[in-house]
């Protein structure tokens, strides 16, 4: 984790230098290299850890996709499970009925995410703030119910399409014209790592592009952007669709890996967990939410035996929000920049908390 300290603190993107400094870029590359080494090591110590790493990478990608619109463009999507789930279902349906070729399945998952997000975005960006959040949530639940009730089978008059509440089970492994044996979990890990790294670099690039700058302006002051000549609605829909593509890719990686597509992938609980990952990790930092995803997945895995693990997740969440409002990323950055000040801040926050709340 120490390598992550090397990220630039100005990650909110308000500097002209862009969202990551050279130090930050170096940090990303170093982390990718570290993960590439970590995979085989973890697998050798305990094969289950490799499974966990893949899981973390997939959710890191999903959190990244959400942060691009939530933290960076100020679009408070509470329905990002819709793109993740439909991307996953698209992959499952293709594998079941057409082909398991990753070069078809993964692009199709991306495309599905883009289309679904464009659809949801088109209707939702007319509203703002909490109303936007509620619309995205409502749309996502519609997709959940469509999958859960297997509506397509009724419409098409066939026995099953989405498999209802059981989902689509027993999926074949992805294949790549025999280039890479993806039934080998290590290969799947490297595929996922490569795609997540590529996604991160693309989103950083996008965030620093003229388009990304406009999104940032929209987050800051949407009305004024319109009155200096930007078609704000169009920017928001396109930003949302791009984000949906990455969420769809996460779904397309997750479902073949689990060999299962189920309605739970579309449910609001996942959307909610994603928002927790973002706030925990550090909203608008892009890399913070990826860390947040790691923390949530690890906690869930370690504690799921414990019936009320959400209580612990909730407690962690409360502690972070009170004592590190800028999330793990913010805490790491201030520790790196000025350790004494950071510790002093926590001490002040504790004192403040005692004074204001405990009294």
């Amino acid at each position: 984790m120490s390598l992550l300290d090397a990220f630039d603190p100005r990650e909110t993107g308000s500097s002209t230098d862009g969202i990551l400094s050279n130090r930050g870029r170096f940090g990303i590359l170093a982390l990718i290299a570290a993960l590439a080494v970590l995979g085989p090591v973890a697998s050798a110590v305990r094969p289950f850890w490799l499974y966990l790493l893949i899981q973390i990478l997939v959710f890191a990608l999903l959190a990244l996709s959400l942060d691009f619109v939530f933290g960076y463009a100020g679009l408070l999507s509470f329905g990002h499970a819709a793109m993740f789930g439909t991307g996953g279902y698209a992959a499952a349906l293709l594998i079941t009925h057409v082909t398991a070729n990753a070069l078809v399945v993964l692009p199709a998952a991306v495309l599905t995410g883009v289309v679904v997000a464009a659809f949801i975005g088109w209707f939702s960006v007319r509203a703002r703030g909490i109303y936007f959040a509620m619309l995205t949530l409502a749309f996502a639940q519609i997709f959940y119910v469509i999958a859960f009730a297997d509506l397509p089978s009724t419409l098409l008059g066939v026995e099953t399409v989405t498999g209802g509440d059981n989902g689509i089970v027993g999926l074949a492994t992805l294949e790549t014209f025999g280039l890479l044996d993806l039934s080998d979990r290590m290969n799947y890990y490297f595929l996922t790592l490569g795609l997540v790294a590529l996604s991160l670099l693309s989103i950083v690039r996008l965030a620093n592009s003229p388009f990304g700058r406009v999104l940032q302006g929209v987050r800051e002051n949407e009305d004024r952007m319109a009155f200096i000549g930007y078609d704000v609605r169009r920017y928001k829909v396109i930003g949302f669709a791009i984000s949906g593509g990455f969420a769809g890719l996460a779904g397309g990686l997750y479902v073949p890996f689990q060999s299962l597509a189920q309605p739970q992938l579309l449910n609001w609980t996942l959307s909610g967990e994603l928002v927790v990952m973002l706030l925990l990790g550090g909203l608008g930092t892009l890399w913070g939410p990826m860390l947040g995803a790691g923390v949530v997945v690890l906690l869930e895995e370690q504690l799921s035996g414990f019936a009320a693990w959400e209580v612990i997740l909730g407690s962690v969440f409360v502690v972070v929000v009170i004592f590190a409002p800028r999330g793990i990323a913010g805490a790491l950055v201030s520790l790196w920049e000025d350790p004494e000040d950071a510790i002093g801040n926590v001490r002040d926050a504790l004192a403040n908390y005692r004074e204001k709340v405990m009294k």
Partner: protein
């Protein structure tokens, strides 16, 4: 006489039962400074909102260079060359002064082509150069890197004007640009407005009668949503209807 730059024909805007602007017909020729005055609630700002696409007129038409613009969306109207500055400070408070203006100079250089997604925003160097030129013009070049929220009041008001100016408008609508300013700041702002009017048409909403009478070529007076008088400053100061509106008598 050439065609007016902006012409409204019987423009009316109702919000439910409230008629904010009622049957206003006026024309603004190209060049110079025009002012719209009137008591609070007279409908001046609503008129600006109609010109800039915040609201669509309930009735009537608004033509800019002979083309109907009533009901177009704000960005479409900006692209035709009409922009406004705000009475309240309405900028990007977390960004630097330079970036505030840069977002505006970037607007007509950015679209949805591959380049707009792939290249680094800093490669739009002409947008940055132009932004610096605008900051220089509004007297903020030395605070270019300061966060907008940290600027002094007068500086913020000039940044507000700078953002509007950065879109390179043909018609600049300014809503009370000197509100809340001391005499010295006011003078600086008035010089800035006169400078802007050298190459753009300026329409002011302004409460300070000294400023209005000194710098306007034409004045339109509104009261209770209606246009009650228009003319040169000399004509307006003699006008009885205007005096009644301002004195509150009948």
């Amino acid at each position: 006489m050439s065609d007016p730059l902006l012409r409204t024909d019987s423009v009316t805007k109702r919000f439910g039962k409230l008629t904010a602007v009622s049957d206003v017909s006026l024309s603004i020729p190209e060049g110079g400074i025009s002012s719209i005055i009137g008591p609070n609630g007279a409908g001046k700002t609503t008129l600006f909102n109609l010109f800039t696409g915040k609201h669509a007129p309930t009735e009537g038409s608004i033509e800019f260079r002979g083309e109907e613009i009533g009901g177009l969306s704000p960005h479409e109207i900006v692209s035709r060359g009409i922009v406004r500055s705000y009475q309240i400070t309405n900028f990007f408070s977390e960004l630097s002064a330079l970036e505030n203006v840069r977002l505006a100079t970037q607007a007509d250089r950015t679209g949805f082509g591959p380049d707009d997604f792939l290249r680094h925003h800093a490669s739009l160097s002409d947008a940055a150069d132009e932004a610096e030129a605008v900051l220089d013009r509004v007297g903020l070049l030395d605070v270019a890197d300061q966060t907008a929220a940290n600027l002094a009041y007068g500086q913020r008001r000039h940044l507000e004007i700078g953002i509007a100016l950065a879109t390179d408008p043909d018609l600049l609508l300014m809503d009370e640009p000197t509100a809340g300013m001391g005499p010295e700041q006011t003078n600086a702002t008035v010089s800035l407005i006169e400078d802007i009017a050298e190459d753009a048409t300026v329409v002011l909403i302004e409460h300070d009668m000294d400023i209005v009478m000194n710098i306007s070529e034409r004045i339109a007076v509104m009261n209770k949503g209606e246009l009650i008088a228009r003319g040169t400053p000399a004509e307006i100061s003699e006008n009885e209807a205007v005096q009644r509106a301002y004195l509150g008598g009948e």
